[in-house]
């Protein structure tokens, strides 16, 4: 039996080789893609998580989307206008069909946005300002928001549109619930309007996408007939698989292997700053630190102490030694491309340990103090190594930092429970707008504002970011808020992460700062 199979296989292989060799010597339109984990579910509203969106994005589309350069582009909607500050009308593209052959109608959009707003959807927080969605005609949709929402388009770029008929027929009108009995059909099947459709789904092992011939878009932008997603969790194995040719492309290339891959003939690596900034948070809200030897006072309340710690960090050294050149030292806690970012604000204050000592002495801590730094060890690129390096740098100015590094599931639990004085955190901004940074990290009582930062003027400005529709005024408000924050330094900015994509030399997938590949722009030469 086995021998028969083997003979058959050898025969088939020889025939294939003949064909590949003589008929199409260079053209191969299959791409084998790998990342450490798989999409958690094909239900596009059930998980607001990176790899899950990366998979959904090849199959599903949204009203508007981010192009290769991350700017907002029309996708299922061709045009839109705000008829009043709280009402938007979107005109849908003609001739869009789902992969099951049904045409896209405005009622599908209405259904999808309402679905993303209900039940166990993980997208609710993102679009909670939407109060109603209504199909005005088969090709126009009206969306009303609670108060004006200048970043609605940014938010809608994350909401995928499903077919109402298909979802209802298959019993998944609502996103998969946490404590349901059964998995729903939509979590393992997909029916989108996008450039690819999923033809095989084996979770954590293999997902096969094939070209959707009825896609509305420009098929000449890519030559991919088939994508195979083969998740490989172990970094070394993934690199070995790339080098041995078992995979063609990975958007997760470990920093330590970049030289190895680009040094191999037939492979290349591309890098770009990622849409994520890493920083330290310092609890300046509590009256006494939990882990410090200073009792009855909180040294971090003193701006001079925070500045002293800033000047003590040599981020260029960390870039060279810890990150192997793959980081961009940062002076603010958000990154290029976010509305409100400027190069001037992002310039770091100089590395100056002498000044640090002087500032500490002025603040009344000439001999420094003791504090515990909480650090994750499996969340950000080289997270624990960065913390180890920082501990040494703080020691030079007399601050004794005890490092407590733990897996992310414990680190973030401790943060949520307000148990940390001093911690590492990274922040990505899916909406590419400063409001996302402020509402979580810098408003009084923000859900990730674990430093206890509170400034009445900043709170007021954050309020206007949500409602001010005059863009010039809004930008001025954002700039004012950043000026206040940069002056107070509630967080110690470290660097913007840099991501790297490795592939065979003949595979071109344009790199994007949010680490999401768009195979509708990929070419295999």
């Amino acid at each position: 039996m086995i021998i028969k199979e083997m003979l058959k296989f050898i025969k088939a292989t020889c025939l294939t080789l003949l064909f590949v060799g003589f008929i199409s010597p260079v053209y191969s339109a299959t791409i084998k893609w790998s990342m450490p984990g798989d999409s958690l579910t094909l239900d596009p509203h059930a998980q607001n998580e990176g790899p899950t969106h990366m998979v959904s994005r090849q199959v599903y589309e949204s009203l508007v989307t981010r192009g290769l350069d991350m700017s907002i582009e029309p996708q299922l909607a061709t045009s839109w206008e705000a008829t009043d500050p709280e009402t938007w009308v979107f005109t849908l593209r003609d001739g869009v069909v789902f992969s099951d052959g049904k045409a896209l109608r405005a009622s599908d959009v209405e259904f999808s946005i309402n679905r993303a707003l209900s039940g166990a959807s993980d997208m609710i927080e993102l679009i909670e300002s939407i109060t109603s969605v209504k199909a005005l005609s088969p090709s126009t949709v009206e969306i009303k928001t609670e108060g004006p929402n200048p970043i609605l388009l940014n938010q809608l770029s994350q909401i995928f549109i499903m077919s109402e008929g298909w979802s209802k027929k298959n019993g998944c009108e609502l996103p998969q619930d946490f404590n349901a009995e059964e998995a729903t059909y939509c979590s393992s099947n997909a029916n989108g309007t996008g450039p690819f459709k999923i033809t095989l789904r084996e979770q954590d092992t293999r997902t096969v996408f094939e070209r959707n011939a009825s896609w509305w878009g420009d098929q000449s932008q890519h030559n991919i007939d088939k994508i195979e997603l083969l998740p490989i969790n172990n970094d070394a194995t993934r690199v070995a698989a790339l080098l041995s040719g078992d995979i063609d492309f990975t958007n997760f290339t470990p920093a330590q292997d970049i030289e190895r891959i680009s040094g191999s003939s037939g492979h290349k690596v591309e890098s770009t700053p990622q849409a994520r900034t890493i920083f330290f948070g310092m609890d300046q809200g509590s009256d006494e630190l939990r882990s410090s030897n200073i009792k009855g006072a909180n040294p971090l309340k003193d701006k001079r102490v925070r500045l002293a710690m800033y000047h003590a960090l040599d981020m260029d050294a960390i870039k060279d030694k810890v990150m192997r050149g793959l980081s961009e030292p940062a002076g603010m806690i958000t990154f290029p491309g976010v509305q409100g970012y400027t190069k001037e604000l992002d310039a770091r204050l100089p590395y100056d340990p002498e000044k640090s000592k002087q500032l500490l002495a002025e603040a009344g801590y000439p001999d420094g103090f003791e504090i515990t730094l909480d650090c994750p060890n499996n969340r950000y690129i080289n997270d624990e190594a960065i913390c180890v390096a920082a501990v040494g740098m703080f020691a030079k100015i007399g601050i004794t930092v005890n490092l407590d590094s733990q897996p992310k599931s414990i680190h973030f639990k401790d943060l949520q429970n307000d148990l940390s004085d001093f911690y590492m955190l990274g922040w990505g901004v899916p909406t590419f707008d400063s409001h996302y940074v402020y509402s979580f990290l810098l408003t009084t009582g923000g859900s990730w504002n674990k430093v206890g930062y509170s400034d009445a003027r900043v709170d007021e400005l954050v309020g206007t970011m949500l409602t001010e529709t005059n863009l010039d005024k809004r930008n001025a408000n954002i700039a004012e808020a950043w000026a206040i924050v940069q002056d107070n330094m509630p967080y110690l900015p470290l660097h913007h992460q840099v991501i790297s994509w490795g592939s065979k030399s003949n595979v071109d997938v344009p790199i994007r700062t949010n680490n999401e590949p768009l195979f509708r722009h990929a070419m295999v030469n």
């Binding site: 404590n179 954590d204 080098l243």
Partner: protein, 327 residues
Amino acid sequence: MVNYFFIRLIQSVLVMLVVAFVAFSLFNYVGDPVHNMVGQEASTEKREEIREKLGLNDPVHTQFLRFVGNAVKGEFGLSYQLRRPVSDLIAERLPATLELVFISALIAIVSGVVLGVYTGINRDGFLSNIILILSLFGVSLPTFVIGILFIYLFSVILGILPSFGRGEVVDLGFWNTGFLTLSGIKAIILPSITLSLFQMTYIIRLVRAEMMEILQTDYIKFARARGIEKNTINFKHALKNGLIPVITIAGINVGTLIAFSIITETVFQWPGMGFLFINAVHFVDIPIMSAYLIMVAFIFVMINFIVDITYYIIDPRIRIKEEVSPE
């Protein structure tokens, strides 16, 4: 007999309950599953609502009793991460792990016995020393290092075997197997050898020691004196007796292979249960973690139970003791 059987059964159930309880108490320290289940945007209220929904706010013993109640009915709940029934997930991955463990055990036992006998007979031979030195690497090098070395040698440099995965599998309905396709057979070679090395070394040394001891015994000397052929003495008389402890150890070690397969499966991206478990640990996917631990405990308890019963049947002393002083 029935009495003995019954006591052993009750002991097994107790062991299972203790394992389940210890595992359950540990889950409180592995982190917060809710953080991984919702996006960073989720509000504190939403997190609390989900905790309440999942019953994570109940005291440990309440959660534990609920879990045991469901487990007895064969329900392990829905994975937090994948939102699919845990029993489905385990059923999907069990074949991959069992095939890997089966092939590894086969390699370990066959080559372990062959090499053990050889080194036992040719005690100071050149080849014997080489085998023994190499086997030292097998015990001392961690599995993941061996795995990565194999991948680099056979996939990257030589390019003859796949670097990861299970190849193409054939679904037989109740079982998905990689044994029926060439890519499946090629894919199992590296992981199974990696997994078998430790056990193989163990068996080589055990068989060698047994052989050396038996070859010194009187009945072997008499056999030699009677002029019986050397191979007959070595294999028919000596090896047969030497194998009894090996079989016992090898049987119990199948359980260990299943436990060890976690690392091998991670290195080779082998879609088995160990891999599922490791992912669940990173995600704090309590339903998968508890189901896996219960299953592994069950396998160990079953093997021990069978071994105990077998001893009872084989070894008359246990029976006699019971008959003389019934407990």
